[in-house]
C-alpha cells in the first residue's frame, strides 16, 4: 500500500504516497485505526498532498477515521489538500466531518501543539 505511517513525538503522521484504489483506502483506514490504538496517539496527521482526486469514498473514509479517533480523544488533521482538489470537493459538496485541516505538515503539527 503506497502509504507510510510514522510516529513523531506523540503524534502519528500518515503520508499517502500516490493515488489509492478503494481497497487501499479501506486498508489505510483500518491500519491507521490500529496504529492509533497501539500507540495511544493523541493526534494524527494525514497528508493527502499526493492525492489528485478526493471523491466521496475518500472523504467518507477520512471522516470515519476522524470520528473514530475523536471518540478515543485523539484529533485528526488532514493536511495538503491540493487547491484544485479543494475546489472540486467544494463544488461536489463533499464535507470532511470531524476533521481538522491545515495547509501543510508544519501547520498541522502547530495545530496539534496548540
Amino acid at each position: 500500500m503506497p502509504v507510510s505511517i510514522l510516529k513523531q513525538r506523540g503524534y502519528l503522521i500518515a503520508s499517502i504516497q500516490s493515488a489509492l484504489t478503494d481497497t487501499e483506502v479501506v486498508e489505510f483506514r483500518d491500519s491507521l485505526l490500529v496504529e492509533v490504538a497501539k500507540h495511544r496517539s493523541r493526534g494524527i496527521i494525514v497528508d493527502v498532498a499526493a492525492l489528485d482526486v478526493i471523491d466521496s469514498f475518500v472523504s467518507r473514509s477520512l471522516s470515519t477515521v476522524a470520528r473514530t479517533n475523536s471518540l478515543r480523544g485523539a484529533r485528526t488533521v488532514v493536511v495538503g489538500i491540493r487547491p484544485d482538489v479543494a475546489v472540486a470537493m467544494s463544488q461536489f459538496g463533499l464535507r470532511l466531518d470531524d476533521v481538522d485541516t491545515a495547509l501543510d505538515l508544519e501547520a498541522g503539527l502547530e495545530l496539534l501543539d496548540r
Binding site: 478503494d22 481497497t23 482526486v53 471523491d55 466521496s56 469514498f57 484544485d84 475546489v87
Partner: protein
C-alpha cells in the same frame, strides 16, 4: 483532439486508470487543471458505480467540438441491474451513506451536462459533458 479512449472497468484499480486517463485527456484538450480535476473526480464516481452495482462496464472518453465550443464527453456504460427511478437518484441529497446517489449527484455538480439512461435489468449509460471555458477559479488558482 484525441482518438476515443476506452477503459474497461472491472475493479477499483481500473477506476484509478480511468480517472488518470480522463485527467490527461482533459489537459490535452485544453482544460484548466481545476476542470481536469472536476472531470477526474466525476469519472471516479461513475466508475465506482459500475464496479459496485454492475460488476463491470466501460468508460469512454471523447473530445467534443460543437457549435464552436470545445469540450469532452465521458460515457460510463454497464449492463448491470439498472436504476428503477433515475429521477429519484438524481434528487439525492447529500448523505454520508454509500450509494449510487452520491456519485451521480456529485458528477452532475462537477460536469456541465449529465444524462442518465437506464432500464431495470438492461444496464445504465451515463453521458457527461464538460465544456472548455473561462472560469474564475482558474484565475484565482493561476492554472
Amino acid at each position: 483532439m484525441f482518438e476515443e479512449i476506452r477503459v474497461h472497468i472491472a475493479s477499483d484499480a481500473d477506476t484509478v486508470i480511468a480517472r488518470q486517463k480522463g485527467r490527461e485527456a482533459a489537459l490535452r484538450l485544453g482544460f484548466s487543471r481545476t476542470d481536469a480535476t472536476f472531470i477526474a473526480t466525476a469519472i471516479s464516481e461513475v466508475a465506482r458505480n459500475i464496479t459496485v452495482h454492475a460488476g463491470e462496464g466501460e468508460i469512454i472518453l471523447r473530445g467534443l467540438s460543437e457549435d464552436g465550443r470545445d469540450g469532452m464527453v465521458v460515457i460510463a456504460r454497464d449492463q448491470g441491474p439498472g436504476i428503477r427511478d433515475v429521477a429519484a437518484v438524481m434528487r439525492h441529497e447529500y448523505s454520508s451513506e454509500a450509494g449510487l446517489g452520491i456519485g451521480l449527484w456529485g458528477a452532475r455538480r462537477l460536469m456541465d451536462e449529465i444524462d442518465v439512461v437506464s432500464q431495470p435489468g438492461e444496464g445504465t449509460t451515463v453521458t457527461m459533458k464538460k465544456w472548455c471555458g473561462f472560469d474564475e477559479v482558474r484565475l484565482l488558482l493561476g492554472d
